[in-house]
Chain length 226, copies 2
């Protein structure tokens, strides 16, 4: 029941609508340009850049791969991506806690001259805000690392709800951190029944083949339906 | 040196400029309406609402006090403020991680009919994003609670740099948490030489008198210079 002593105002509506409008524009851009866009999200230190390098290496024989790096003010990650032969653009978010669809569109346009077929957007390291902003990607890919703990779905439910694929990184450290994969799976599935979960180790490479196989199938489907 | 393999694009500039424009509008609004605006920031659970109630109680004999509550979708805090006799408005930020100046202006306009003389904006519980968005307040007030640890200035430097007054809450729990006030002060002063630090206990009320005395002086000065 409305308390007559104060008003309730929804200040977010305008921002959300504008972001949704840009997300539709990103989707339409991707269809027009035959491009599969991946939104890669995770905490700082979860291993996003390591994973990125592995994806570039696995795809570059088959596709022109582009990378949009979002960072406060560094360009380390764009440099890493360029070193692996990917087309890259570095977006300076000036301290912003997430990428939105309008920023993503600018990144895609900056890569346009090289006509990438797969673009990976490495989002800002944050489990809260990136989950709230749909950038218009074909795949929301989340990476959680073992040291962060198997209880993270309880603390950041939205991120685990919106993600369409979950990588559990640094599996080699599981014994040290008392990380329980069964508990993690239970916590994830309570929020998200469809996202596959792949345990991987960025260090040893273990588990990546299964993920890459799945990813290639998704990209293939995405390009086919364009 | 610019790496020729990729572009660097500053996607945040537009957002920052727009926020600064609104922050100027908020400042001008406060001057025109004889209003002192406090931006209250801190982690979830730091004790922002308890502090808010104590500020309302200390000021309400002297000033008409208004409260802008920013929350994902609840109205508990606006209800608490209204219970203490404050004019209140609840802003639903729909999951946004911070208040910006445009949202603040909408909150002020919603309170305008009751002509408040002091308005406290209770920002979203977050130590990162609120620090980056100037809402145009006369005073940036930060609350850190003892259980969060004395190392927080090292992890969230911007918040401690921009704050103009720091309350250390839950001092009654210091022995349990091995919180070192000297270390905290050293960490804060490396970032911010001017902000006073007041240790308080929301539970026992200890330390609040000194803070309220300082706050009343600041509000008095603020109103005098209008």
């Amino acid at each position: 029941m409305k308390d007559p002593r104060f008003d309730i105002i929804d200040v977010r509506a305008g921002i959300e609508e504008e972001n949704e409008r840009y997300a539709r524009e990103v989707r339409s851009y991707c269809r027009t340009h035959g491009l599969f866009l991946i939104n890669l999200m995770g905490s700082p230190g979860a291993g996003k850049t390591t994973l990125l390098v592995r994806i570039i290496d696995a795809l570059k024989a088959e596709y022109r791969v582009g990378v949009i790096e979002a960072d406060v003010d560094a360009d380390v990650d764009a440099r890493t991506a360029a070193d692996r032969g990917a087309l890259a653009v570095q977006l300076h978010t000036g301290g912003s806690c997430h990428m939105d669809a309008a920023m993503t569109l600018r990144g895609l346009e900056a890569l346009e001259k090289d006509a990438p077929e797969v673009v990976i957007l490495e989002n800002v390291g944050n489990l809260v805000c990136p989950a709230e902003f749909d950038v218009g990607a074909d795949l929301k890919l989340m990476i959680l690392s073992v040291p962060e703990g198997d209880d993270k779905p309880l603390k950041y439910p939205l991120m685990f709800t919106v993600s369409e694929c979950l990588l559990i990184n640094k599996t080699d450290t599981a014994p040290v951190f008392d990380f329980d994969f069964t508990r993690l799976e239970k916590n994830v599935q309570a929020l998200n029944e469809t996202a596959p979960i792949f345990p991987v180790s960025g260090k040893t490479g273990e588990g990546f083949d299964a993920f890459i196989l799945w990813l290639k199938e998704r990209i293939h489907e995405g390009h086919r339906t364009e």
